[in-house]
Symmetry: C2
Subunit: 327 residues, 2 copies
């Protein structure tokens, strides 16, 4: 709870920048559609990570605010387009952009948000050389996010996915944008490329841990902790690392039963509990727990190189939240 | 015909760059979807205009090739997304990206193309300061293209659109990317901002003339010239400047009849001929012809400031093609 308040306070300058960038102006239907999801909430983990990385290396995080806003804008443009691709109607507790404004306007608003993100990067308070470097870094990152998205689409058509393939998809689709937060924040803060790349790698591992922990919690945490029904991934038949590991490790009967539950349209609470029990006895739950925790050690080793102080302390708290929350 | 061959020859280095950038690699479904429309054809007007603007101001156009490729990539990402928004099945004589690869993959491929364009801009052979300036210019331009796209979507819901509103929509949706070609090409060629902005304005007027001339030809040119049935805009009930001017200028009976033809689903050749006759006697055809030609004079005045020579001559030939072809 205290961490949440700290995050909100730390995100405040980025929040203010986003509200200014996303002021509604003509044509209003465009700017309303652009502002809809970015200003509907979200934890602002990426921008806060960028600001903290900037401070961690001894920089002034005020200089990284436009870059941090750009990352949040990239994240939100992918959310707007993902909701169109997945035909999801809800996001952050509000109607998704295409539900509110129509598919064409949502695709267009996502494109305009994406363009805006690059404009924000060029607002960074740094040298022209670094501006050009950050644009290039972010452009390559977004293309690689597209690679991850396509892998995810491809997996839906396939019978089996190996754990390593799944992790590579998650690395591209969600983790490397955390990597960009640490990388760009550190570069703006004065870190050289080698140091910034080490922090990027650390943040990518945080992103991987975050996703695996999310999957783990969905199966194991009570509804009160999750803020949604427990086991919703299982009910939706989602292919998480937990599911992939369980199908990989379970005995033949268990594997068949788990597949039947995942493919079944209308599962009872008892079915979900049975799926979790199979995940447990196959060793998949333990394997995912181990894997999420294995990232933590590397992360702590990297952070240990930095002086004690508020940025490092907050960074540690943020990472622990992302990888061990609700446990 | 000779101009067409010259354009093809001039576009060759950009064509080669695009083929290299768009090499298919894993995940193949992404890169195949990305390459599909950009490599299916197109006149490469924007890249050629960028290279010619570079030479016009005395620069080496080889330095502008990555920027020119970026413009063609931006143009193609908007085509891929527009086809999804408009549910169009064909483009450049091949299946549109979403018809070939599915809606989700097409949206994602468009996003990845867009990201790639910014990476290409940073490949430009120029100073870091200019790289950052060109990224910012292109980012603002793409956001403004989104404004034009939204205006176009808004117009579909409205009873009437004024000619000035329509022209502003066309300026944003299609002309300013020609403006970016002239602007960026000239800047890479060594022009200062003032000179590059003057060439940008000229290219925007070319873009406006190009669109108006396209609408004019559709109603007046024979099928052999168009390479498609004459009057297809009328058959589709498209709201072009010609239609807007005709509805604005026609006598009440003619206006009602024209509206009925445009809203009618299944028009005969005689209906189309009647619509063209109404456009003729309302003065709309003449007004559009005048307007397209009015841009030409300003364009010629700007070009007249440059020394005679191949770049200026080719530029003139290109502009005449864009605004008076088929007449």
């Amino acid at each position: 709870m205290e961490l949440k308040a700290t995050l909100t306070a730390r995100a405040a300058p980025v929040e203010a920048a986003l509200r200014e960038y996303l002021l509604v102006r003509p044509p209003e239907n465009l700017y309303r559609a652009m502002a809809h999801i970015p200003l509907a909430g979200g934890k602002r983990l990426r921008p806060v990570m960028a600001l903290l990385a900037c401070e961690l290396v001894g920089g002034d995080s005020a200089k990284a605010v436009p870059y941090a806003a750009a990352l949040e804008t990239v994240h939100n443009f992918t959310l707007v387009h993902d909701d169109v691709m997945d035909e999801d109607d809800l996001r952050h507790g509000v109607a998704s952009a295409h539900t509110e404004f129509g598919v064409a306007a949502a695709i267009n608003a996502g494109d305009a948000l994406f363009a805006y993100a690059f404009e924000m990067v060029t607002d960074s308070d740094c040298s022209d050389a670094l501006r050009a470097e950050l644009v290039r870094h972010l452009a390559i990152t977004v293309r690689e996010i597209g690679e991850g998205q396509q892998m995810d689409l491809d997996f839906e058509e396939r019978e089996t996915v190996a754990p390593a393939e799944y992790l590579e998809m998650v690395r591209l689709k969600t983790s490397i944008l955390f990597g960009s937060a640490a990388f760009g924040g550190a570069r703006i803060g004065g870190a050289d490329a080698r140091e910034a790349l080490e922090l990027r790698q650390m943040a990518i591992e945080v992103g991987l841990g975050f996703q695996i922990w999310d999957d783990y919690l969905d199966a194991t945490a009570p509804a009160e902790t999750l803020g949604k029904p427990s086991g919703s991934d299982i009910r939706q038949g989602k292919r998480t690392l937990l599911v992939i590991e369980a199908l990989d490790r379970a005995a033949p009967d268990d594997r068949a039963r788990l597949a039947a539950i995942l493919n079944g349209g209308d599962n009872s609470d008892a079915d979900v509990a049975e799926a979790v029990a199979i995940m447990e006895r196959s060793g998949a739950l333990a394997a995912c727990y181990e894997r999420a925790n294995s990232y933590l050690q590397g992360i702590r080793d990297t952070l240990a190189k930095y002086p004690q102080g508020e940025p490092r302390q907050l960074f540690e708290a943020l990472l622990e939240y992302m990888v061990t929350r609700g446990h």
